[in-house]
């Protein structure tokens, strides 16, 4: 589904990702872990097409298409979803109106009919249960005045509603209490199917107790330096990231 080859990305002329490689197949959940500053968020933002992240080399193929040649909105319409680490506030625009516009623009791009307000509302109410939020949530302006946990749950709600093919969660688990973490994990597990894939970018092993990954990658200094099964996450939790740094240093 997603093939990242030798991807290099710079921010303000500073190279962050260095020839990164990653293969994600349909039906898989990948955890991308790593210490602060290793380039995890850069990978997430670059895949979503944030204009501040300049791709300086490499290719990314998504469902056979050249992802890097697509605009951010076209990537979204093709099923790429990014759950933001720091969700953005849009004052005065209700969650419901925002989601209705997003749903219908994505549907239009796929040649589907628009959903009317009633259909959208029904869909939203269904998905609200998943994130354990009540209806008043829909009338509140997008992320404005939301607590940290509410913002993250709102990202999961959006994800559930937009039903992406490739979901990238950028540290959605950080800063959550255990209840909110379970809700987020539930949202991710609810999305899991054989025809889509999930990339969980995370600093901690904690969420992986609830969402079982197929592969765990360690990102360090802009490269994936280690990939293994879910057991790697436990090892990282136990030993921290320093031994990885030492391993990389000894190879250099």
């Amino acid at each position: 589904m997603l093939s990242v080859r030798d991807l290099s990305v710079a921010v303000d002329d500073k190279t962050i990702l260095r020839q990164l490689n990653l293969e994600v197949r349909a039906g898989e959940v990948h955890a991308v872990m790593g210490p602060n500053g290793s380039g995890k968020s850069t990978l997430a933002q670059a895949l979503a097409g944030h204009p501040a992240y300049t791709v300086t080399g490499g290719q990314v193929t998504y469902l056979g298409r050249d992802l890097l040649a697509m605009s951010p909105e076209d990537r979204a319409r093709a099923g790429v979803f990014l759950a933001f680490q720091y969700p953005i506030e849009i004052p005065g625009v209700s969650n419901a109106a925002f989601l209705k516009a997003a749903i219908n623009e994505q549907r239009a791009a796929r040649g589907l009919e628009e959903l009317d307000a009633m259909d959208v509302l029904e869909l939203l109410q269904q998905k609200l249960e998943l994130v354990e939020m009540d209806k008043s949530f829909l009338n509140r302006p997008v992320n404005e005045g939301f607590s940290g946990g509410e913002k993250k749950r709102n990202e999961i709600l959006q994800m559930a509603v937009l039903d992406p093919t490739l979901a990238i969660l950028d540290e959605t688990d950080s800063g959550l209490d255990i209840d909110a973490l379970k809700i987020v994990a539930g949202g991710v597990n609810g999305l899991r199917r054989s025809d889509n894939a999930i990339i969980l970018v995370t600093h901690y092993q904690r969420i992986l107790q609830y969402v079982e990954p197929d592969r765990v990658h360690v990102l360090f200094d802009g490269r994936i330096v280690k990939s293994a099964g879910k057991e790697l996450a436990l090892e990282l939790e136990r030993r921290g990231y320093d031994w990885i740094k030492d391993e990389v240093a000894s190879l250099a």
Partner: protein, 486 residues
């Protein structure tokens, strides 16, 4: 190129779909202004003597102002001097014979023009729940639902008709809120105004439908000087809307209107404007100079006047819809969205003059600047010594798109007693690249993202507009900012 830079490039190309010209034969006076022109206007309208005398007094006052200092220079706008002798002060669609007795006799081309503007006047297509007075150049061409309103004692007609049929009301209220001595443009308007709308709601009557006037400038080289007068007797209610468009032309055209509202005890007047005069092109050529005086008087106790305006058009907007809070416990409100794109300039705001006790006023102003637009809020809150326990809340928010536009705020607050409270809040923000990216990441196009963010910004104002207008205003902002980001 950054998003902001693209904003500027793309904004230059916005379309104005109301810019067509109708080919309609007009009865036009030659350009120029003198006492003779005033006499001719008054004669053409077969006005009673008091009107002519009032116009002449206004003209003499205006001439004095013109000789002394000319037009006011304090506004934060720049434009070349206006030659008042080159303006046509009267232009009316030519009438066959006696003029239309009903809609069937109105020139089909006129009906077609309004149809094209989305204002159907023909009986079978009328807008449900909205009575419309259509003003084309200098005269009112049709008023709908007149008979139905008359059953309730409501008078809704063109100003000319009011002068003929209700001269006592006109004489009583004309200039009672905006005297001709008020300012340069009010004096000019009082001298030469040709038509407009008149509305009278009797005691205790709640007007069952929205009253609306649609203004259209068509003739070249002409100014539009209309006058609106609304009188709400004790305990009555009316919601009034006005809309306006003009053809695209390379020269500037002057629009100097006066609106007077009188709300007696316990009466409420809601006045909404969606102003979409032609704004000029990206280089600042053409467009309407919109120099307008609007004021309402809460004459009795617990009267209430609300101004809601969405100003998206005009090359220059100079307008301060105000409320004189004379009656105790009366309420004045001003909700405004002003958009300036390309080279548009707006100096707009309000005056809340608290005279009565326990009077309250609210001012919510949202300024949006894009391109090389320049947006100024200018507002006065004056609480007189005897207006004890008066309250004012003012909120001025500016949104900037791009880095070549400007936003300015000039609040004047004068509180004359110790028991009153005036609050002022202001903010300036930009649409951030992060907001745009967030919206795009959910699949929204750049245009839709900008329009959604702007509508969110304007929400507090839009929610005060009647439903039909809220939809139109939302669309209008969308159209005005189409292509504002790359």
């Amino acid at each position: 190129m950054t998003t902001s830079a693209k904003t500027l490039e793309a904004l230059a190309t916005r379309d104005y779909k109301w810019g067509f010209v109708s080919d309609i034969e007009a009865d036009t006076l030659p350009p120029g202004l003198n006492e003779d022109v005033i006499r001719q206007i008054s004669a053409k309208k077969a006005e009673p003597e008091f009107m002519l005398q009032w116009r002449l007094r206004a003209y003499r006052h205006w001439s004095k102002l013109e000789r002394a200092a000319g037009e006011p220079k304090w506004a934060n706008v720049t434009y070349p001097p206006i030659d008042y002798q080159k303006i046509v002060y009267y232009s009316a669609p030519k009438r066959q014979g006696e003029g239309p007795a009903n809609l069937d006799e109105v020139d089909p081309k006129l009906l077609e023009t309004f149809e094209k503007l989305g204002i159907p006047l023909a009986e079978r297509k009328r807008l449900a729940g909205v009575a419309v007075d259509a003003v084309f150049d200098s005269v009112s061409v049709a008023t709908t639902f007149k008979e139905k309103l008359a059953e309730l004692g409501i008078i809704f007609c063109s100003f000319s008709e009011a002068v003929q049929n209700h001269p006592e009301l006109v004489q009583k209220y004309l200039g009672s809120v905006v005297p001709y001595t008020d300012n340069f443009y009010a004096a000019l308007n009082s001298a030469v105004f040709t038509d407009g709308s008149f509305c009278y709601i009797p005691k205790g009557v709640r007007c069952p439908m929205e009253l609306s006037t649609y203004f259209r400038i068509n003739a070249a080289g002409s100014g539009q000087f209309e006058r609106t007068l609304i009188v709400a007797e004790p305990g009555s209610y009316v919601s009034y809307l006005e809309g306006c468009t003009a053809p695209m032309r390379d020269e500037n055209q002057l629009h100097a209107a006066v609106v007077e509202l009188v709300a007696h005890e316990g009466a409420q007047i809601k006045y909404s404007t969606v102003q979409n005069w032609y704004a000029g092109d990206s280089e600042g050529r053409g467009g309407i100079f919109n120099f307008v005086t609007k004021r309402g008087k809460c004459a009795g106790r617990a009267a209430r006047i609300s101004w809601t305006q969405v100003e998206t058009g005009s090359a220059i907007t100079w307008k301060y819809p105000s409320v004189i809070l004379q009656g105790d416990d009366s309420i004045g409100e001003f909700y405004s969205v002003a958009l300036t794109a390309n080279r548009q300039q707006a100096d707009t705001g309000t005056k809340m003059l608290h005279i009565g006790k326990n009077t309250r006023s609210t001012i919510i102003s949202k300024g949006i600047s894009a391109g090389r637009g320049n947006n100024t809020y200018r507002g006065l809150v004056r609480i007189s010594p005897r207006a004890t326990n008066a309250r004012n809340y003012t909120q001025c928010d500016s949104l900037l798109l791009g880095d070549r536009c400007g936003a300015h705020t000039f609040p004047y607050i004068e509180v004359g007693n110790a028991s009153s409270i005036a609050e002022h809040e202001a903010s300036t923000s930009k649409i951030s690249d992060e907001q745009l990216f967030y919206c795009k990441q959910r699949g929204l196009s750049g245009d839709n993202a900008v329009s959604m963010i702007i509508n969110g910004f304007c929400k507090e104002v839009f929610k005060n507009l009647p439903m039909e207008f809220a939809v139109e205003a939302t669309k209008l902002l969308g159209v005005s900012l189409e292509g504002s980001i790359g």
